[in-house]
Amino acid sequence: MKPFGQQGINVSMKKVEKNYEDREVLKGLDLQIREGEFVAIVGKSGCGKSTLLRLVAGLEKVNGGSIELDGGPLKGLNKQARMMFQDGRLLPWKRVIDNVRLGLPSHMKNKAIQALTQVGLKDRVEDYPSKLSGGQKQRVALARALVHDPALLLLDEPLGALDALTRLEMQALIESLWKQRKFTSILVTHDVEEAVVISDRVILIENGKVSLNQPIHLPRPRQRTNPAFSMYVDEILSRILNRKNNKNYSMVVNKESESLFNSINN
């Protein structure tokens, strides 16, 4: 048996439906995620990828279908999951250490320090969040999520607001912690490269359903310079943008540049 808190969880979504008022966001979505798997969800903004994550977290209820965790139905808040939000959501009035300890029994302070050490912020425990950079805030948010030993880590575009270099660092950090702890992870992102570099499988959501289920067979750590890497990224991007093939795409480009050329001449 695996040690407590060091294992993932199976997530199974069956015919999940979600509406807001009269707008249908998810229309019978099916998705199975194995324990310990790292799945990335991509899609255009408004496609319902963040909604899906909030449903799995139990922050919102499905209107139809079901979500099961290791075979048992999800009721109310998902206690085995921890979520990392795009805007960090640290409490500005609590020091870094107290943010990480939020919701943790008071005798577990050492664990919080451990978690902060893992994300490389051991020397900032007594600072207020306002003193930290954007990347450091997200590290604190990551430590806060991991200190609970979640079986499922939900990442809602957590790196979206960071600069390129910090993003690369954070991707590597998240990947290494995931490898070490073997939790199940779902990452929602608008960055296809990020999805390919970090996940076992990329899911594309369109029209409220899964429209692409693309396993990434690349050895880790993944190299962005690898030609196969670019192929995956291209493939997924053209599916998102509904390009049938490259020829069609270049025709569109040509037509546009042609009309631009004409307008200049006139």
């Binding site: 977290a57 922050l59 808040l77 206690k79 921890r82 979520m83 939000f85 805007d87 959501r89 409490l91 500005p92 009035w93 609590k94 939020l102 919701g103 207020y128 969040p129 306002s130 806060r144 609970h148």
Partner: protein, 254 residues
Amino acid sequence: MKWGIKSSMEKFLPWFIPILLIGGWQFLSWTGAIPERILPAPSQIIQAGFDLTVTGELYDHMSISLWRALAGFLIGGIIGFLFGLLNGVFRFADLFFDTSIQMLRNIPHLALIPLVILWFGIGETSKIFLVALGVLFPVYINTYHGIKTVDKKLIEMGKAYGLRGKELFFHVILPGAMSSILVGIRFSLGVMWLTLIVAETISAQSGIGYMAMNAREFMQMDVIVLSIIIYALFGKLSDMIARYFEGRLLRWNN
């Protein structure tokens, strides 16, 4: 050109204008440009303050005024704070109380003075009642507003991290509302002094306001001005105390 301000300058600069004014005032009184029956010289006011201190009169009036201010502030502040919390947190209480409180709030509380005198006479109760009533609403409104405007995303995060009821309130909601609550408290301190001055001037037999009104009957200009200055100092002092607490409670904000 760069304007470097040294720390010694920083302490002195806010007092520059008051000192200049008082110096000018003293000078003009000496030359006779300001007649004594219009405005006594600063030195005369200090003398009056000294005399009243020696007889113990000043101490008595000051302590009774402070006591009224504090008692009224605590009663009104606590009631306003509790209603603000209650209506901010619970939807039922909000629907039940808020409209009534908003209606009462729009009555100028000083308009109640005649009624209050008839109810309570001119004893301590009437003054404390008026101060409490004046203080209640700014504290209520700012507490209520502070709770209502706590970032919903932070509350959601707290819930997602397993915080419930009391924990959610003390770790997320109350600290999130704190800066607004403190604004309410600072504002209500102003109302507190204003109410007390009016109440003591109109209907009292002790206190700084009474001292001023009493001095008017004997044309003691120096005592009248002294009373006004004491009110100014009280106001400044209470604001300093409020700022100190603001600095401590909102330490994370700088």
